[in-house]
């Protein structure tokens, strides 16, 4: 089964570079209220697309009246075809329309759960744009089979009723090999291995705060840090700008390391711009063959970020959960890879990662990074 490499698509690189470049100048144009509203619109999308509520018009009304939905095979490229335009067409695609809801079993997306993650939002002259990962569970009629279905590239506009989609493209490079839509056979899951408990969680980072105070952090700070982590997921999966897009998510003296548990620092860290670009598969000499990298084929899904103010103004800490899809060269196999424990610093260029520890208690039994199961 052919699976498109995740780290070598030049068109994706181009779009990421473009997004990263424009983000620096334009991010401040989106307020925290805007970010929240855009996130909520995307969350509502997931609910609406799977349920024909209000005859599909709840879904259609997430768009402007002449909004469009299309499918593209490459990131950053226009769709081959706009499949849907206008309220009735969108409601119809959701299984509804003026005549009411059809039998859901007759729809192509029947049985799917949409996980929309790693959303990066950027301001545009007309409103906003985003790119997001899409994972689908329940593909091929098996409720436990998951696959990446590319993601979304969207354009939004702020209307009197709130933010709405002007266009939403489902970028689906692997559609032909999709279990759901390409009718491919899912990859075989390896035999289960015993995973150690993720004990040793740092209680100080998890316990709900005793007061409602946010220290020196503003809503904008929370959103900027959340976006920083979302950009990390895209940066680490693709060697764009020779890996320097990834490296530039850190401070100049920023560090990455792998820790065995939540309370132990890594024995060895990767520090500084050149070293960080290198572990992303890049560096001064350009990007190496992605197939030679240990993380080849993985989609990083970073979830449940908890961001906390620290006692020093302009710094913050965070923890999150890390899932990896496509481990062991098998596009339908997913595993938990612990999580991240971070320190962030506010620089003149915005929030950056000072340290990111990949807390990976189950590394030894990881399908991607552990020793092969005998």
């Amino acid at each position: 089964m052919k699976f498109p490499p995740r780290r070598s698509a030049p068109s994706l690189g181009a779009v990421l570079l473009c997004a990263a470049g424009s983000a620096v100048a334009a991010d401040n144009m989106l307020t925290p209220d805007d970010y929240v509203a855009l996130q909520q619109l995307d969350a509502r999308y997931a609910f609406a697309i799977e349920t024909c509520t209000n005859k599909g018009y709840d879904y259609a009304d997430l768009y402007v009246p002449d909004g469009e939905f299309g499918v593209a095979s490459e990131w950053g490229k226009p769709p081959e075809k706009i499949l849907l335009k206008g309220r009735d067409a969108l409601a119809n695609a959701d299984g509804g329309g003026p005549g009411g809801c059809r039998d859901p079993k007759t729809l192509m997306g029947y049985g799917l759960t949409h996980i929309i993650a790693d959303a990066v939002y950027t301001a545009t002259p007309d409103g906003a744009a985003s790119k997001e990962q899409l994972l689908a569970i329940g593909v091929g009629g098996d409720p436990s089979v998951i696959e990446s279905q590319g993601g979304y590239e969207s354009k939004y506009v702020k209307t009197p009723a709130g933010w709405r989609y002007v266009s939403r493209l489902h970028v689906f490079p692997n559609m032909a090999t999709s279990v759901q839509f390409g009718h491919a056979t899912p990859s075989v899951r390896p035999a289960p291995v015993v995973q150690p408990l993720t004990a040793g969680e740092d209680p100080a980072k998890l316990v709900p705060p005793k007061t409602a105070s946010h220290g020196s952090l503003t809503p904008q700070d929370y959103m900027d840090i959340e976006q920083l982590s979302a950009r990390y997921a895209w940066g680490v999966d693709h060697c764009t700008n020779n890996g320097y897009d990834y490296a530039d998510l850190y401070t100049e003296d920023g560090e990455f390391g792998i820790a065995p548990d939540w309370n132990t620092a890594p024995k060895r860290t990767i520090k500084g711009r050149e070293a960080l670009a290198d572990i992303d598969g890049g560096g001064p000499g350009g990007c190496r063959d992605p197939k030679t990298l240990r993380g080849y084929g993985i989609t990083h899904i970073i979830l449940a970020p908890i961001i906390s103010p620290s006692s020093t103004a302009g710094t913050a800490t965070g923890t999150s959960i890390l899932l990896a899809l496509g481990v062991g060269g098998k596009p339908n196999v997913i595993e938990r890879q612990g999580g991240y424990k971070d320190v962030y610093v506010k620089t003149p260029k915005g929030w950056r990662i000072k340290t990111r520890w990949h807390v990976f208690p189950n590394m030894a039994t990881s399908i991607q990074f552990g020793k092969p199961v005998q």
Binding site: P32, A46, I115, P192, L197, I321
Partner: protein, 186 residues
């Protein structure tokens, strides 16, 4: 005529109720951030019996409750209510943490996504997807278990769950996460 009076009375009653219903409060961006982070803490804390499960219980109001139900908007028949019951539900309680090997939540990762938050007169409500990784003792097996239907209240300590209901996906139950994995069809 009698029917007309009844309809009129009904309409009047409806309008009175509508007029009496307090308006939803406006949520700030910080409120949305805090509520999403409350749910993130839930996902991270539930895996670890920290502080005998009382860190988990502290995500709720003192009279907060958790329960499972089969349908959205239908309250659970049975709930865990109050700090001791909630800590017990998280494998802890007054007697300390139970053996993690015997707890049904061991080895699971809670994936809570697509959270929609709505302001209400008393605080906020929310709906999310709940996807479980590591079900049936297989760390790579993933299923949509259902979702969460929540009510939140802003306390002096910040936002807390007043109620969290696990709404099982059609045909799913808690046995889906703990029973042995079926032979893979793959």
């Amino acid at each position: 005529m009698k029917l007309f009076k009844l309809i009129t009375a009904g309409a009047l009653l409806t309008s009175v109720i509508a007029a009496a219903a307090p308006p939803a409060k406006k949520l700030t961006a910080q409120d949305y951030i805090d509520i999403k982070m409350l749910s993130a803490r839930y996902a991270q804390i539930i895996e670890h019996c920290t502080n005998k499960g009382y860190d988990y219980a502290a995500l709720y109001t003192p009279d907060g409750e958790f329960g499972g139900t089969n349908d959205w908007d239908v309250p659970p028949k049975k709930v865990s209510k109050g700090p001791d019951a909630l800590a017990t539900a998280a494998n802890g309680g007054p007697g300390g943490c139970g053996d993690p090997e015997k707890w049904m939540g061991t080895g699971l990762t809670h994936i809570i996504v697509n959270t929609v938050i709505t302001p209400t007169a008393t605080g906020a409500s929310g709906r999310s997807y709940l996807v479980m990784l590591g079900v049936q003792q297989d760390p790579t097996r993933i299923v949509r278990l259902g979702g969460y239907q929540d009510t939140y209240v802003k306390t002096a300590q910040g936002w807390r769950f007043k109620t969290r209901w696990l709404v099982f996906y059609s045909g799913r139950s808690s046995s889906d996460i703990s029973s042995s994995a079926p032979q893979s069809k793959q």
